[in-house]
């Protein structure tokens, strides 16, 4: 038989049993639709995260940790746990040396200090970060509203959109130009002059601290960034280094900082290195690590991230496969019924010269056609369902201030692979009925009523 005849024959036979064909195909449509949607969701999540990394250029950053700031989990951060922390303090001199390493574009020390931010009676504790305008303008900070500050703008502050609700703003645009009070912690020299207070302080009953308030103007609202560990953004309130320098404050980010030696107290807990290009990563890391520092780069985590995505895909695939298995049982049932109903017809075909393989292929093509149609309509159903779910989720989340996102991705290979998979599983499901039909004894079949 010719290929075109097989196709015509299979579609013609399926058309003769419209309702049964529709119901069986509907099973495949639902199965493939579910599978397609789930994989599109997995790929969408993967794309969102990797796009985010790429958008923020995070593959071009290396974080170098000072002696007391090395990550606590060496295995997770691929650091040799046997190597001792022998690094010298990460001070300005060392940062200047790092900046000279070929491939380094900028080195940004991590300067963070505890503060209370206040507005209209709302108050929140945070760590304010001094972030140079050069880094703000690299694209690392994505603005929901406003614009980057400059070195000439010492009273400017950029806040994260995560603070919009806490500070009682209607939306990011509403925050622009509004004052924000930043209260730092300082040593209360006046209280130490009072002998009663000295006694209390020495006993540890009272702490000789006071607050110093500074009023800033909000010039920008940045997109929430949940990848702070990777890049230089490790806060939700940013001021210029100049503003940071003029503020009286105790720059403690950790209670351990109180135990630092005077020399170490002049150093930074960490610094972000921005590379000239991502391919300089290994060479820069090698130099920095040879000085005894520990580093962290997102690129080192890619393998683990990919493994996580594969596991997620497998999980979603497994859920989708349940629907596919049910659809397969439907195909087996339909095709077995077809072989029984067309028992005599099979005998006639053999009597006029059909080979076993011809009969087998007739039933194979029919199950394959069910798979093809089911796959074709299944991906369309999955696509429409995904778009609908995306709209619903966005409608809910946008009302909560989350920007609209495409949670599903539909690469071409996913469309083609889903249809191919539908055909494949349908052929597998049609295997037994086709073999059974091919083995029909024509003499018995011709006698059958």
């Amino acid at each position: 038989m010719r290929l075109t005849d097989h196709i015509h024959q299979s579609l013609s036979n399926l058309w003769k049993k419209k309702l049964r064909t529709f119901l069986t195909t509907a099973g495949v449509v639902i199965g493939i639709g579910a599978l397609f949607s789930m994989l599109a969701f997995g790929k969408g999540m993967q794309k969102n995260i990797t796009d985010r990394f790429a958008r923020f250029d995070l593959f071009r950053y290396v974080v170098v940790f000072g002696p007391s700031e090395a990550p606590r989990n060496p295995r997770r951060h691929r650091i040799d746990r046997r190597s001792p922390i022998t690094a010298p303090p990460l001070d300005d001199a060392r940062l200047a040396e790092i900046a000279q390493i070929p491939g380094v574009q900028t080195v940004v020390p991590e300067i963070r200090f505890p503060a209370l931010i206040r507005r209209n009676g709302n108050e929140r504790f945070t760590l304010v970060q001094a972030l140079p305008p050069e880094i703000v303008t690299t694209g690392l900070v994505v603005f929901r509203a406003g614009a980057p500050y400059t070195h000439d703008d010492p009273n400017a502050v950029i806040i994260s959109e995560s603070l919009i609700d806490d500070l009682d703003f209607a939306d990011p645009q509403d925050a622009l130009g509004k004052p924000l009070t930043v209260a730092t912690l300082t040593v209360d020299a006046g209280s130490l002059l009072n002998p009663l207070n000295i006694t209390g302080a020495l006993a540890g009953d009272t702490l000789p601290f006071a607050q110093k308030e500074y009023v800033f103007t909000i010039v920008g609202v940045a997109e929430r960034m949940d990848v702070g560990m990777v890049g230089p953004l490790r806060s939700d309130v940013f001021v210029t280094p100049e503003a940071s320098r003029r503020m009286k404050k105790i720059a403690l980010t950790n209670i351990r900082d109180l135990f630092k030696s005077p020399a170490a107290a002049q150093s930074y807990p960490a610094a972000g290195i921005r590379l000239t290009s991502a391919d300089k990563l290994e060479s820069v890391k090698a130099v920095v690590e040879s000085w005894g520092y520990r580093t962290f780069a997102l690129a080192d985590e890619i393998e683990e991230i990919e493994t996580a995505f594969i596991l997620m895909d497998m999980f979603l695939l497994a859920i989708g496969m349940i629907a596919i298995v049910v659809a397969c049982l439907g195909i087996v049932n339909t095709m077995v019924m077809a072989t029984l109903e067309r028992y005599r017809e099979i005998g006639i075909m053999k009597a006029v010269g059909a080979r076993d393989s011809d009969v087998r292929m007739i039933f194979f093509f029919e199950s394959g056609a069910i798979g093809f149609l089911g796959g074709l309509f299944g991906v369309v159903l999955g696509w429409l369902t995904s778009l609908f779910i995306n709209e619903i989720v966005n409608a809910i989340l946008v009302s909560k201030g989350v920007p609209p996102t495409k949670y599903f991705t539909f690469p071409l290979w996913l469309w083609l692979a889903s249809i191919a998979f539908a055909i494949l599983v349908s052929l597998v499901a049609g295997l037994y009925p086709a073999i059974r039909a091919a083995k029909t004894d024509p003499i018995k079949a011709l006698r059958h009523d």
Binding site: I348, K350, A351, V352, G353, D356, I443
Partner: protein, 236 residues
């Protein structure tokens, strides 16, 4: 092996067919027969005498358990399943008592069915099937399904289907069994005309007078053996 002028078209020697059962059934028991080209052979006998088994083996639907069958110089008793399918497709045409047409197909599609498996293109299939229907006087009924045709018309469609591949032998198993007398006569006349045109016909029937009317020879079977071989007229 090719057939020579001296050899019969069909050469059956010591043909045996035993069906396995608790008590094995010996449907054919050492049957030997030669059928020359252009012959109209009638086969009669009571139920269970082995007539249909003989026809099924000649038609390549069944295989013997002993002996040999040679058709047109080819020993079909030794053929495998695929070769037998090709033999059924090209060398023989079969007509059955119950017509055995596919109910969902039109007359044209039923007639074209052997060509479908022969890999003939759709346009050529339809052309040849229409021609075959015209030959049996049913060109106007080409789009009708079997249920819309009379018994005689269905049998003529079946004959057209059997002839579509220009076989060497036409095997007819009680082709008039489900037909009234007048229609039976028409069908037999059609077979006789085909035989007159040179086609070898082997036909089973309970009605010996009917066979005698058209056949060159009639054999009578009993218990899988030929008990009587009567030559009625010579093959031209």
């Amino acid at each position: 092996m090719n057939q020579t002028a001296a050899e019969p078209l069909i050469d059956i020697r010591d043909l045996t067919r035993v069906y396995p059962a608790a008590v094995p059934v010996r449907a054919l028991d050492g049957l030997t027969l030669a059928v020359s080209e252009g012959m109209f052979l009638g086969v009669s006998g009571s139920s269970g005498s082995g007539k249909s088994t003989l026809l099924n083996i000649l038609g390549g639907l069944d295989t013997p358990t002993g002996g040999s069958v040679t058709v047109a110089g080819r020993r079909i008793s030794d053929l495998g399943p695929d070769e037998l399918a090709l033999y059924r497709r090209k060398q023989v045409g079969m007509v059955f008592q119950s017509f055995n047409l596919i109910g969902a197909y039109t007359a044209l599609e039923n007639v074209a069915l052997p060509l479908l498996f022969a890999g003939v293109g759709r346009a050529e299939r339809n052309r040849r099937a229409a021609e075959a229907l015209r030959a049996v006087g049913l060109e106007a009924r080409r789009t009708h399904r079997p249920a819309e045709l009379s018994g005689g018309e269905q049998q003529r469609v079946a004959i057209a289907r059997a002839l579509i591949n220009n076989p060497k032998v036409l095997l007819a198993d009680e082709p008039t069994g489900n037909l009234d007398t007048a229609t039976s006569a028409q069908i037999l006349q059609t077979l006789a005309d085909l035989n007159a045109a040179g086609l070898t016909v082997i036909m089973i029937s309970h009605e010996e007078p009917l066979l005698r009317q058209f056949a060159h020879a009639v054999i009578r079977l009993r218990d899988g053996r030929i008990v009587e071989h009567e030559t009625i007229r010579t093959v031209p």
